[in-house]
Each structure stands twice: as structure tokens, then as C-alpha cells.
């Protein structure tokens, strides 16, 4: 229903996908839906960019196209390429329908690095909107491109860009499970844990330097916290029974986990090193899948205390939980939106299908975003604009993303094996 794409975008995507699969046999991204109104932007190749092993503007254009809110205007055949504002022939870009234009240059430095400069030009006002210069190594070119895309996105949409963020997920190939971390566009995937036993529920520490997750390597679910800086890990929860569903407090000092040490599955709070365990919920039923509010004052969770699994909210200091979902008999896996005004969850609908649904705290009206039928584990991008989740295509586990308005859709799949359990990392604080 969103497939009315101009030919040049389709060609562009084709080339882009081809380059991805050649460059990396890892996550491959496919865009399956676009926003209703798209900002037309032309991205001229940076002058001197042809010398680079990785063309910066290709990555920038791929980022912006993937967001669904930009329409990439053809920039081919312009000669000479504009590198400075004085070089820009605005009538050419107006004729092509571009409202914004990216120009710039790449030049080698004496130290063997690259000097990358870009400017974002307003084609209609014939003025500069923003511009940056970077001195980077060859290995940093992709990261620089993501930063440029973030700067453009922020200037033109007013939202924070998330192209420089990372995601984590679990891959399964045969009996091999891997916890991987990759850039938000699927590149640069690194395995941070490999096991012949399942791994589930990875959760990012708010500063992006640690992951909490559940591993079955010792024949039962145990919660670990692992540093992405040095690879060291600690056992956060290994009590009698099952230990699972870790969630970080926004200050990164506390974890909410689900333990069965006292009987049924209940939510506990503890320090990230596993000390100072206190019980948060007190039911005789299942309480699981905790997730902290961005202000750290509440935890939303799944409970079947009312007879079927539904979403509830409880204050971190305890007290009586408040039921949040009433529609349907199976609502699970809640996650707060970054602004704290809404949450996303999975709802089982008619025919045993599972959809990604959002609901605001104000309206309490659920809004279904997907119809794939087998969707799981939703996770918000840190700007709240996209929701990444796990689904299946032809029996294979893949990741997919949908914009929070339901219009933009992407799929991220691997050449082989299953991908599942995504978690979108925090904003890169060094930006």
C-alpha cells in the first residue's frame, strides 16, 4: 500500500542493497513502506569522495531513505560538483524538486586521515542550514556519515537522529546462539557472546556500555551483565529457580529482574552488581517483563493477576499496580516510549496472531501498527520515531521496524539463520 516509489528511488535501493550484501553478509535492510509526506533532499557526491573506499554520501542517503521521511532526489549529471555554497546552481536543484541539498568535499590530510566537510543548503532560500567538518580515519568514515545524517535529520525534522546508534539482537544458527551488537543500519555486527544454549532478553544500560541478558549456558536462566568496553561480565542474578527479564533503571545503577526464588515469577529490584535485592511486586500470579519509565518513577510489566496477561504499571516504591490494557486476552512485552507518554506492547488478536500495538497513557486507546501475525519483542528507537521488533518471514526469524505512526516499514534479515530479541541502544552521548 505504500509502494508508489519513483523509479530512481527503486534503482537507488537496488544498488544500495547490492552493495550491502557484497560488503557484508550480515543484516540486510529492505524498506517496505514510506511516510506520507517526504522531504525532498538531493545529496550531491562530496567532491573528492571517489577516492574513498566507502562513499560517505551513499551511507548518508541510505540512512535518510531508511527513515522514510526523506525523498532522495537524483543528484546525477551535475558538473562541476558543488563543494562550496558559491558553487551551487540553485535553479538546477529547484527544477529537480529538491528543497534541501547536501554538498561538501573530502580531502586527504597529511597524517593519512580524511578531512570531510558537508553543508546542508536550503534550496528555496538559497542559504546554508547547517554544516560540519570532521577529521577522521578511513575506519571512521561510516560513523562520520551517520553523524552527517543525524545532523541533517535533526535540522530538517526537529527530532534527534538515531543513525549513529547501535542495536543488539540474538542470532540462532542451528544450535549456535550469538548475542550481537551492530550499527543501527545493520553494519559492523560483532558477536559479544556465543553459546550452544539459548540467550534471550538483551537490555542496554542507559549509557550504552553494558548489556544485561539471560543465558541458559548453565542449564537454567541466569541474568548476566556484560561490559561492551572490555567484554567482562558478572552474574547479576543466579538464585534458586529462574532468573530473567532484566531491565535497567534510567540512571544505570539498578536492575529490575524476574526471580522465582520465593515461589512464583515476581519482579525484584537490585543493584546492577546483584546486591540489595528487594521485591517490587507481590502477587500470587505471574509478574514479568518489567520496564522502567524514562523518569525512573514507574515500572510497567506483564501480569496475569486478572486472569489473562495484561500490562500494569507500579511505582518503583511499590504500592498497588494500575492496569493499563483492557482490550484482548493477551497483552505482553511492554516498553516505554522515550518521552514516557506512551508504551508499545504485543497484543494477541483474533486467530492467534500477534501484533505490535502502541497506547498513550492519556488516551488509553490501543493503536495497532503491524499485521504480520508473529510479532514479538518491540523496542523503541531512542528518538521514539521507530519501533524495532522480531517477526518471521517464511519461517525465518527476522527483525522489522515500523514508524510509530505505522507508515514507514523496514525489514532486517540475515543470509542464513534466525534473528530475534532486538533491543535498540541509547543515543550516542559523544555526539
Amino acid at each position: 500500500m505504500h509502494n508508489k516509489k519513483p523509479l530512481y528511488i527503486r534503482l537507488f535501493l537496488l544498488l544500495w542493497l547490492a552493495s550491502i550484501s557484497i560488503a557484508h553478509a550480515q543484516l540486510k535492510i529492505e524498506i517496505t513502506g514510506f511516510g506520507s509526506s517526504q522531504l525532498p533532499i538531493a545529496i550531491a557526491p562530496l567532491k573528492g569522495e571517489e577516492a574513498l573506499p566507502q562513499k560517505v554520501t551513499e551511507v548518508v542517503a541510505a540512512d535518510l531513505a531508511r527513515s522514510g521521511v526523506f525523498k532522495i532526489i537524483d543528484s546525477g549529471g551535475v558538473n562541476p560538483l558543488p563543494a562550496e555554497p558559491a558553487d551551487v546552481q540553485y535553479p538546477v536543484w529547484k527544477t529537480r524538486g529538491a528543497n534541501a541539498l547536501v554538498i561538501g568535499s573530502v580531502t586527504p590530510t597529511a597524517s593519512g586521515n580524511w578531512d570531510v566537510r558537508f553543508r546542508l543548503m536550503d534550496v528555496l532560500k538559497e542559504s546554508q542550514l547547517t554544516g560540519f567538518a570532521y577529521q577522521v580515519s578511513t575506519a571512521q568514515l561510516r560513523g562520520t556519515a551517520h553523524k552527517i545524517a543525524d545532523a541533517i535529520y535533526e535540522k530538517l525534522t526537529g527530532d534527534v537522529g538515531v543513525f549513529s546508534t547501535r542495536i543488539t539482537y540474538i542470532t540462532k544458527n542451528g544450535t549456535r546462539f550469538e548475542l550481537q551488537v551492530a550499527d543501527a543500519d545493520g553494519y559492523g555486527a560483532q558477536t559479544v557472546l556465543a553459546s550452544n544454549e539459548p540467550i534471550i532478553s538483551p537490555a542496554w544500560a542507559p549509557d550504552g556500555t553494558r548489556l544485561a541478558y539471560v543465558s541458559f549456558e548453565r542449564k537454567k536462566p541466569i541474568v548476566y551483565v556484560q561490559s561492551l568496553v572490555n567484554g567482562q561480565r558478572t552474574v547479576a542474578a543466579n538464585f534458586k529457580g529462574s532468573n530473567s527479564a532484566p531491565a535497567w533503571s534510567p540512571d544505570g545503577r539498578r536492575l529490575a529482574v524476574v526471580l522465582t526464588k520465593d515461589g512464583n515469577s515476581q519482579i525484584y529490584l537490585m543493584n546492577a552488581d546483584g546486591s540489595n535485592v528487594t521485591r517490587l511486586t507481590n502477587s500470587s500470579t505471574i509478574d514479568t517483563e518489567p520496564n522502567f519509565s524514562p523518569d525512573g518513577q514507574y515500572v510497567i510489566f506483564t501480569s496475569d493477576r486478572g486472569g489473562s496477561p495484561q500490562i500494569y504499571r507500579v511505582a518503583v516504591g511499590g504500592g498497588a499496580p494500575e492496569r493499563l490494557t483492557f482490550d484482548g486476552s493477551y497483552n505482553v512485552s511492554p516498553r516505554y516510549a522515550p518521552d514516557g507518554k506512551s508504551f508499545v506492547f504485543i497484543q494477541r488478536t483474533g486467530g492467534g496472531r500477534f501484533s505490535v500495538v502502541t497506547q498513550t497513557f492519556a488516551s488509553k486507546q490501543p493503536q495497532s501498527l503491524t499485521e504480520n501475525g508473529v510479532d514479538e519483542s518491540p523496542t523503541f528507537a531512542p528518538n521514539g520515531r521507530m519501533i524495532l521488533y522480531a517477526t518471521e518471514v517464511k519461517g525465518r526469524g527476522i527483525l522489522a521496524a515500523v514508524s510509530s505512526d505505522g507508515r514507514v516499514r523496514q525489514r532486517l534479515s540475515m543470509e542464513a539463520g534466525d534473528v530475534r530479541e532486538p533491543a535498540w541502544g541509547p543515543l550516542n552521548r559523544s555526539q
Partner: protein
């Protein structure tokens, strides 16, 4: 269904145990008639098909580490969809393990709960936990001590049946009893 024979045999053995010295369950060396004394449940196959000649003369050593024993062979309790109740047909199995554990206080078990693949992975961990706990609860009511049992859950993560149809789902809605001395 899959356990007609063994369940029948189990019921017979239990009937035998109940009338003999329960403190020495492993000492049942006298031959026990297995199937003939027990009526099969109506929907099951006729007993004449199910009874291997050997078991009619050897009895059950009632030793979880002896491959010939039902305590070794029957370790799985199956559940209905979205249910954590131990069905009647598995109560003899749970009872037999409970009897062994009450007679062997040093023995410890882990009950591992499992679910089918539908729904949230973490909610399924909790659901599998509840399935393990319901088996535990029955055992503790029969006198097994808390300290002898740990219940854990694999949720949907370690399916025994790899398919994606109802037969695979029903195979995976299961609690398994693992003895501490079992070989890995």
C-alpha cells in the same frame, strides 16, 4: 497416548507398592502382573498390544538411574494449551517420583518447565515456571521436601519437537523431571 503402556505398567506397580512396604520401593523384585490387573482408559489401545512379555516377569526396579525403570523412562508431564494443571493421566507418574523422593531424602531433582513457541519469550519463561511449580506442588503435597526440588523454566527456548504445528506444540508444553545424578 504415547505412554499407554508405561502408564499402565506404572499404575500396576504403584498398586503393588501401595500394598507392600513403601519404604523399600527399590526392593520390588517379585514379579508383578502388569497390565492384566488394570483396565486401560477407554480411548487407549487394547492392552494385548501394549504388554511386552519381559515386563510381566521382571517388575520395575523403581530406580531413576536404571534405564529399565519407569522412573528413568517417564520423566515428562504434558500440559494443555495455556494451562499449568497436572492432568489426571500424569498423576501416577508424579506420584511415583514423589514416592521415590520421599523414600530417598538425599535425592534431588530439577523440574524444568517448557512451553510451545507461541507468544512472548519472557512470559513463556514464567508460564514454564508455573508448569514446573505445579508438578512440584503435587510432589510436596505427597511429602517431598522443598529442598529436594528446584523448579526452573526453559520457556520456549529448548523445544524437544522442532516443528511448528499442534503436535510439536503439545510435545513442547511439558515439564521434565531431571535427577541431580543424571548424566548430562
Amino acid at each position: 497416548m504415547k505412554n499407554v503402556l508405561l502408564t499402565s505398567a506404572l499404575i500396576a506397580v504403584l498398586a503393588g507398592c501401595a500394598s507392600t512396604d513403601t519404604q523399600k520401593p527399590a526392593d520390588v523384585t517379585e514379579a508383578k502382573p502388569v497390565a492384566p490387573s488394570v483396565e486401560p482408559t477407554p480411548q487407549e489401545k487394547p492392552p494385548t498390544v501394549a504388554v511386552p512379555p519381559k515386563s510381566t516377569v521382571t517388575g520395575d526396579p523403581l530406580d531413576p538411574y536404571n534405564p529399565a525403570s519407569m522412573l528413568n523412562k517417564q520423566r515428562s508431564v504434558y500440559f494443555d494449551y495455556d494451562s499449568t494443571a497436572v492432568k489426571d493421566e500424569y498423576k501416577p507418574l508424579v506420584t511415583a517420583h514423589a514416592r521415590y523422593l520421599t523414600s530417598n531424602r538425599a535425592q534431588k531433582i530439577v523440574i524444568e518447565g517448557n512451553t510451545d513457541e507461541r507468544g512472548s519469550r519472557e512470559y513463556n519463561i514464567a508460564l514454564g515456571q508455573r508448569r514446573a511449580d505445579s508438578v512440584k506442588q503435587m510432589m510436596t503435597l505427597l511429602g517431598v521436601q522443598e529442598g529436594q526440588i528446584e523448579t526452573i523454566s526453559f520457556g520456549e527456548e529448548k523445544p524437544r519437537a522442532k516443528g511448528h504445528d499442534e503436535s510439536a506444540f503439545s510435545e513442547n508444553r511439558r515439564s521434565d523431571i531431571r535427577y541431580a545424578g543424571d548424566k548430562p
